[in-house]
Structures are given as structure tokens and as C-alpha cells.
Symmetry: C2
Subunit: 272 residues, 2 copies
């Protein structure tokens, strides 16, 4: 999916919500556990219940890898289930990969060829040649960690370098590697005070914003400070939506939560 | 495996060589491709031919993930094959993972519980809570990216912060999180001029050193500048050893290459 396709989708759906499929066997409704593939059944039900309210899904790879081969299978099935929605749902492999050039190329193959994800999250520490192998795929995206939502973001990302903080260097430098048509940045919702500054640093780039909800970020402030003319925001929510209920009604409960977020977003989208 | 076990192993084998199992279907001998699991057969032959010359193996996850489910299976079989060598081979999941706390916990489960790796490489950008979940396993190790071997290491790792370069901050800070019994650092062989400095920053920690061989690093200089009393170095070599021949003799050729490196290392080990 390209950038204008993404913006069209946001306007059509009046939403820039992405739902995190951080599917954890210890948190999903117990009645699913007796099924053959509880993880896939859970994801399928969540997708069925919410796909008209969100613009995409973001499975975090760690949850699938922690289940070994079976988890990898559940992820494959989930991506196959999403395939017919290709033009109306943006998919993010939240993998935070990054390695030397010839190795990053292998990760790109894994996520863009085998799984056909639209995008993958990448860690910036190893620099340009760890990122560029992901850029050789048309209409596929790198989502580079800029300023993350977790407490540990304070350890290195805010280090002053004489030319701005480390995360500002990352956001500036990476723009030399890829245009806003191939690159986005992760900007955590837990740093709303930084959004205006980051938007000024990268006016045309989309930001993937985790941390709204369970991690405490504030939607309104982020929209006021972070939106651009093509929206420029994809806001991810996982636990708050997918684990809204542990009962048989979990999918409806997830829909109800997603609807609340979508409704809150619609008033910002109509301004675009 | 704990630190003294690792040092004993180095002395016993007169080697601190780790062999990178970066197994790539397009580079392994073509006659293997007709077998049911060429990747596992290749790894098995390499292990059989070299396990007395090296102290461990480091599969880079990207190569396995790029082959989808089948690759994941080949990795499982490789780790099962290595299991009986538990006390004489150190295993490294070269995964360069790192995510928010509850997610890193899932990666730790994947590599330490499901696969039973001794260690996993972790990227530092997300800070403390992305690293500490890996530290709750006894005798398991985090190998944190310090100064990497690739060209892109120049993009951010050398940024001056007013309190040293970024990579120096990483190496200093991470020592607050874990002792030399649980934490190592990746220090690329392509920066031999930095080794003395890095050893002074972290006197007791092991360094995993990639980039000798195919990437051009120099063994002697690294040993002179980087060794400590317990060796403190694990030097990884992949392509130069495992792809020494594309013929039916590939395993013997790999052994011959490994032997050269091991012999070069032995004279440094005898000084310990």
C-alpha cells in the first residue's frame, strides 16, 4: 500500500487506528484454549469484529515466536486470513529487526516476501545498511524506531549529542535514506510533549504511535501536536481493545472499545 | 553455561572461536539441496566437522526466518542436535531483539525456554526494560550490541554525547543492569583501534566479536587490545568457515579453515 492509498483509507474509514495483535495464550478467553489453534481463532474473531473500524493490524512477533513453530503457524494463518483485505488493511510486522546488510536482506525476505506484510518495524542502532535492504520493495515500508513509548526510552534516546538528542538524530538522518513514501517513524504516545518537535523534524512522514491506552498516552494531545495534512498518524492500541473481555463476548467487547477510539478519531479526520 | 564454565572451555579447547551458522540455501553445496532438510543437513555436517575446534555456534535468526516455517524447523532440529553438547558448546541466538518489557519477556521465552539457547543478542536502543527481561534466567546471557562491525555503525554509535560516544554510553550504562556473569557486548572486529578503549570501559565483560574474516577484522590486534584474564573474547566467524567449499568436501574444508583460526587463537590462550 502506498502513502496516498493509506490516506484514502483513513478518510474512508474515518479512523487511523491500528489494532495490535499481541496475542497471548494466558490472556485470551479460556474457552478458546480447547480449539486446535486458539491464537488464530482469537485473531480471526478480533479481525471479523473490528476490521471496518481500523486501518490495519500489527502483530508483535515476540508473542508468536514465544510459542515456537505453532506460533509461527498461527501468524501465517492470520496473514492468510488478512490477504483478501489487502487494499483496506495495512499490516505491520512489529519485529524491531535490524542487522548488517546481507542479514537485514534476509529479514526483509521473511516479512515482505514470505508473509507479505506491508511494513516492518526496524531498530536504528546499526545505521543505514541495516535499514536500506528493507527499502528495495515497492510499496513496502520501514517503520523505524524514533522515540519509543517505554521507560527505557530515557536511557539513550534523549542523550544530547551537540546536534540535538539521539532520537532527533535518528529521525533526521533516516530521512536521507528514504522518503515519506517508504519510511515512517515509531513515536511513543507517552511523550506527547515531544510531538510538536518531532512533527517539525519530519513534516511529511507518518508516525506509528504505540502507547495510547494501556501505556497511558493521550489521543487528543497527540492529534493536536502530531497530525499533518495527510493525517500522518497511525495510532496503535492492543491490550485495551483485544483484551476488553475474557468472556465469550470478547469480540463484541473488542469492537465496542475499538468503536470508542474510532469515534474519537473521526472528529480529527473530518478536519483533514 | 556460566562465566567460569566458559573460560574452562576456552582453556580446554585452546580456542575462543564461535562459528556462525548463517545458513543460506543459495550458498550451501548444491548436492545438499535434494535432501529433505538441506539446512539442517548442512548445519549437522558443519557441527560434526568443527565442534572440537570451536567453543560455540551462533545461528543468525534472519537466515532461518527467511525460509518461513521450514527454516524455523531447521533451527529447532539444529538446536536439538546441539543439546547433547550442552557443556562443551555455547550457543548464541543472533536475533538482535529488544522491545518493551512485557514483549522482551516473550522473546526471552522464545530463545531461552523453547530453544534453550545460552544467550541472545539484544539491541540497546530501547533501554533498560527492553534488556532486563532476558536477565531473569540463570546461566543465560544477554549479548548487547555495543559497537557493531558494519558500515552503518558510523551513523549513530559514534555520536558524541558530551559524556563519550553513544556506544560508550551503552557499554557504561548496561553494566548497571547486569554483571559480567550475565552480560556480554558485541564489539565488531572492524574497529580494532577502539578495542583498548572498550576493554578499559568494561574490564571483566566478555565481548562477542563478529567481523573477523569476511568483514576484514584482524585477530592479532583484537587479542592484543581486547583480551582480559579470562580471555574475554568470543570471536565469531561464519562465511569464511562454513562456505570454504561448495563441493562434497565442504565439511572438511570448513574444518580446515576452523583449524587455521583455532591454531592462531591457541597461542593467545596459552598466555592466560
Amino acid at each position: 500500500m502506498n502513502r496516498s492509498g493509506l490516506f484514502q483509507l483513513i478518510k474512508k474509514k474515518q479512523s487511523f487506528l491500528c489494532i495490535g495483535l499481541d496475542t497471548d495464550l494466558s490472556l485470551i478467553p479460556p474457552h478458546l484454549l480447547k480449539l486446535q489453534d486458539p491464537v488464530f481463532e482469537f485473531n480471526k474473531a478480533i479481525i471479523d469484529a473490528t476490521h471496518d473500524l481500523c486501518i490495519g493490524y500489527k502483530p508483535n512477533l515476540a508473542f508468536y515466536e514465544s510459542m515456537g513453530l505453532k506460533g509461527w503457524e498461527s501468524l501465517e494463518k492470520t496473514m492468510q486470513y488478512l490477504a483478501p483485505f489487502k487494499n483496506e488493511l495495512f499490516t505491520i510486522a512489529d519485529a524491531k529487526r535490524g542487522d548488517i546488510g546481507n542479514t537485514s536482506k534476509m529479514y526483509a525476505k521473511a516479512f515482505f516476501e514470505n508473509f507479505d506484510f506491508d511494513s516492518v518495524t526496524v531498530a536504528p542502532y546499526m545505521g543505514e545498511d541495516s535499514v536500506t535492504p528493507f527499502l528495495s520493495y515497492e510499496n513496502k515500508w520501514v517503520i523505524l524506531l524514533g522515540l519509543t513509548s517505554n521507560k527505557g526510552s530515557n536511557d539513550f534516546q534523549f542523550l544530547e549529542t551537540g546536534n540535538g538528542k539521539l532520537y532527533e538524530n535518528v529521525i533526521r538522518k533516516a530521512q536521507q535514506w528514504a522518503s515519506p513514501d517508504q519510511l515512517m517513524f515509531v513515536v511513543g504516545a507517552t511523550h506527547p510533549e515531544e510531538f510538536k518537535n518531532i512533527r517539525a523534524l519530519a513534516p511529511d512522514y507518518f508516525f506509528l504511535v504505540p502507547g495510547v491506552g494501556a501505556q497511558g498516552g493521550d489521543l487528543e494531545k497527540i492529534c493536536d501536536n502530531g497530525m499533518n495534512k495527510q493525517c500522518g498518524l497511525i495510532i496503535n492500541s492492543a491490550r485495551q481493545i483485544i483484551y476488553a473481555s475474557k468472556g465469550e463476548d470478547f469480540a463484541q467487547a473488542a469492537r465496542a472499545e475499538a468503536l470508542k477510539v474510532k469515534d474519537a478519531m473521526a472528529k480529527f479526520v473530518t478536519k483533514l
